[in-house]
Symmetry: D2
Subunit: 364 residues, 4 copies
């Protein structure tokens, strides 16, 4: 199980971002980002699972992002397919692929429109309970509570899911400044652990180094409170230096012009190392993390993990595959120093480096 691995000191590599990558592949609609593709195009979801597995992922998350009934209804994306059907199909796909590689299956639960609309603990918990019951009919290994902007709602999710007696990981999509109500990361972590979370951390919304920084603040909060938990980080695969609490949703480029902000594999090497140094042992990615980014985590930490992922058979470490390129100046790039120090040009001389994020998220 996940806790055995983490308790043993292992590095657990997470998988990457599904909805944004499947949007680019043609199977998810931007905006509400609902996961009906698990039913409509299972081969596409299966293939992406396989790619993350091959890249070194130790966990395959069910493709159930934003899969609560209230969100599905609100989205308008789904008419003849139910949440139960999606959940069922997603668990099958994740399980099938995880099985091929000895990976764990994590059932994912995310924030609900109901919380913002009603703030009713009873109603919101009923939604999570329903999702949990679907998962428990399937063979999942643990739960991930992810993409929560309010720690209060995440705590409710943890409380429900802990009733299953399965391990629960909880990641908020928050900034170092805290959750949407201003609860600082350290305090968020304390509340989540007190609610029963075994693993805490952050996901999505901000870039990798900011994510690591936020998890460090969680760690410090836990230490001050005399609590213990495993740490986890699954950040954006984009550079977002100008963002804070609103995250990348506040960027002018969201969601259809983020290409130029994408991390290179070498950016991921730095991130994986920083995360490891911060004591984080569950290291993955969220939106923007493609299979080769996950492979970069596994490659950076191959000494600590003791092995390379299957996908590395098609990848020389630090560009080694270029050693026999026909152009001499490309051959000269088959080394770590070259890629570590390169500052990639954008090829876009009319574009700036930083944008002005919208700051309306507080009135929202």
């Amino acid at each position: 199980g996940i806790l055995e691995r983490l308790n043993a000191g292992e590095v657990v590599v997470g998988d990457g971002g599904y909805v944004m990558q499947l949007e680019r592949r043609g199977y998810v609609k931007a905006g509400h980002w609902t996961p009906e593709a698990a039913v409509e195009h299972p081969e596409a979801v299966r293939q992406l699972h396989k790619e993350f597995l091959r890249a070194g992922a130790d966990v395959i998350q069910t493709f159930t992002f934003y899969c609560s009934d209230d969100k599905l209804e609100l989205s308008g994306n789904v008419t003849t397919i139910t949440g139960a059907q999606i959940n069922d199909a997603a668990c099958n796909l994740a399980g099938e692929v995880a099985n091929e590689g000895g990976a764990l299956v994590a059932g994912g639960v995310s924030q609900t429109p109901c919380y913002l609309k009603t703030n009713s603990e009873t109603e919101v918990k009923a939604i999570f309970k329903k999702q949990m019951d679907y998962f428990l009919q399937k063979d999942i290994d643990f739960f991930i509570v992810e993409f929560f902007e309010h720690v209060e709602e995440a705590v409710w999710a943890v409380e429900v899911l802990k009733s299953s007696r399965k391990p629960v990981a909880a990641t908020l999509c928050i900034a170092p400044q805290g959750d949407m109500n201003g609860v600082p990361p350290g305090e968020c972590a304390v509340r989540l652990v007190k609610a029963g979370a075994d693993i805490v951390g952050i996901n999505c919304h901000l870039d990798p180094l900011t994510g690591v920084r936020t998890v460090k603040m969680m760690k410090e909060g836990l230490e001050k409170a005399g609590l213990r938990a495993h740490l986890m980080v699954q950040p954006l695969g984009f550079h977002t230096p100008e963002c804070n609490i609103g995250g990348y949703v506040s960027l002018p480029e969201f969601p259809f012009a983020l290409e130029t902000r994408a991390m290179t594999r070498w950016d991921v090497h730095k991130y994986a190392r920083e995360a490891y140094k911060a004591g984080i042992r569950y290291i993955g990615g969220c939106c923007g993390f493609e299979p080769y980014h996950i492979r970069a985590i596994a490659e950076e930490l191959s000494a600590e993990r003791g092995f390379l992922p299957p996908g590395s058979e098609k990848h020389g470490l630090w560009g080694a595959a270029l050693e026999f390129h026909t152009k001499p100046w490309v051959r000269a790039r088959a080394r770590r120093e070259y890629w570590e120090n390169l500052l990639p040009a954008s090829g876009r001389p009319k574009c700036p480096s930083m944008a002005t994020p919208a700051d309306g998220y507080q009135n929202d």
Copy 2:
């Protein structure tokens, strides 16, 4: 067939780039970029074919890039798999997927190491003949001669493939400055058409608007010579304003830090329109073109084509899917003017806009 469609004035949407996208998915090794994945991981190749088809591609190219025996041997990537096996598997995959959507299958042939090593017409033509024979055992619709830096070698390929009596398209990876021997684009086009090519144009190496510019020069060359052919363009999906004859291979970011140069879908809209206005009717992409880029071609030209691609069911035109987003400032992006005028920031304040390309390609 392809010529019937083009003769009828139809717009033919090509597919996107295979090797670079499959590298990111974990199935191709950068450097020699050989296509053994067709045998090793057919599900990965099949899935990418399906995504391009769904995005609107009218042609599925066989995944046979750099599949000549001399290249496969040189690469060191393949030991127990033969070129014949790859070719066979690739034709099966392309045919199977094309069949699902009424698309055509194009057998692709690319430049050979043998040409640079021997410059022997006999030896090089023997290689192309061998590849042609594999293809003719399968049910392909036409040939694409692509990624040739020297028009002389491309002419040889055309001459061989025309002996099959199937239509032949020929695209060079050249700049407006001409091929590696300095033969200008107009003259290249004339030679290719005289050799029998039914369709001529460019692919890879330079950005879309440069690609369109080069094809225009081909068109002018043909007109001056009193020749006629259909025009085709399958450029890079990256911004490369500082490159010329050496193409993107001469950029410091090649091949592992090109992310920041990637085109957005809106860049592709502009490209598709420019290509159409230039009289080009076979419009696709090469390295860097992902499924959503191909969909953008099909969406930009949906009025001319009379329909949207299947993948558009998951994509509101010009961001329309954002109309019901929860954040008001994101809802405000559900319109063409927003995306057309956006200059995306890189989020990388220490990176420049342009790089200094290597210029060693001439001594090579």
Copy 3:
């Protein structure tokens, strides 16, 4: 006197940067930046004084930067000219020009090499005493203690100069992070006021908005301590977003490639308004502030001051002078919105937006 004006609530406009501007004009040597030009080329110093006066400066500072004997000797720039001679000439020049426009003369004293070398209060104070005595032979209105990296040394300077019974302004070249010993801005201000400073603030080293932010911290420190003083700011005329405690000296561009960071006059408008809103009433500039930047302060605050500076006879407010340009698109720029919203391009596509500052200042 200066205090009467400030006590009456007037806005006092300071002058700009001498050493860097005179370096560009050919009269100061970069590196030690000593002011021997007051003796060698009085016409050059006089002319720059006149330009600042004409731009709206209410104070003319004596050109005595780094004019302590130990610094002059260390610099190697001066052999036959003494500190006394420079001081004498500088006071004459400042007095002569100030007289032409009803401006005040401020005698400037800056940090000494002796402090770092000996940390001896006695020795350092003796240096300041000697400089003070020179000034008191001349007709100056008040003292400015400026460009101190350590508040301790600035306190010593204030203590010495207050013995003259003339008003003393004290500005540190520090960041929001505090002085070189880590004393925070609020605490620095308290110590300076307790030592007798009538006016406190910052100068040089960081960009205008950072300067205003630091002075706000000083203001808060004074308020908490129940102390009162006038506030002053004379920041860099360069954009330095990536700098902190080391200031612009830590930038790779220092001192010979700072052009591209220079503020426009419109940047200065924003700065002057922010400074005013922060309660600062002595507003000027340091290195990088040319006469037209000082004029921009006077123009932004012309309503509060009740008049425009003489130099505005050659300057339409907000570009009004372009109203009759021959090109229609230039005429369209004769308005505030245009210049307020313009993001000027650098014309340098191979240059990044931000640099990596040296961080060795702490070991130094």
Copy 4:
């Protein structure tokens, strides 16, 4: 005289830009850029002459830019001062300063509004005749016909001024694309030399390397026509890679936000070397060239010239003055390689590298 020096193979260093620098100092009004400061504030003009002389200029140009009566009247800047008075004062100032350093005095004549309004050779020539007569009452050494957008008008000016039997230099403010009527640089040069110009070249409007390129085209034109003349270049001190025929007037930053485009002294070193290598021997600057930029020309070519300018006493070559700086990382910059290779950051992460120039100049 100027021709003796050039015939002897000497490098002649020109002076820099007056109007834009005096605008920043508070004495010239942007828009019409007229030179009434010669009468109103002679000390300011004299000082700038002195600075250019000290920086190494071999020629001092009279401050008579746009000083034809029709332009002065159109500008509205001048009411009680006549063109004759300005001309008189400007000649006195230039002569006085040139005398101090053995420099030559050049009387400058620029394009007239009359040309665009009437296109009358008689009327335009009458204006130049009147200006020439003023100059001939003074002791000038030669004429510079400068800032002409139409070669036709420049030819008329040359024809008039040659009647004085003094040497005439003629510089157009044109791009490699040619003058405003599309006459290419080579043809322009031929016409000017045939009209009597002893020296031809370009000034203003475009950046230094583009200026050198245009003068090379002039040289080739002359060679083809079997003509000979000395070559001259006095370009902008700004980077303008995106401009063509419209020049920097078409940039959104013109004229009040050009700071970020300013050349460093090291950019000028490269320019001076390129100009020298192109065979140009009269090398100076126009708008944006401050005294330290002129000094950089003189320093780059000090070996060829055999001496350093007086201003170099305050300037270590290639940053040598930093050798004794207190910070070790600044000391490390006292060498040529550092400054030659530095790509200066703008400190402006929301600003792009390139702008979109207005292109209305053709309808104008």
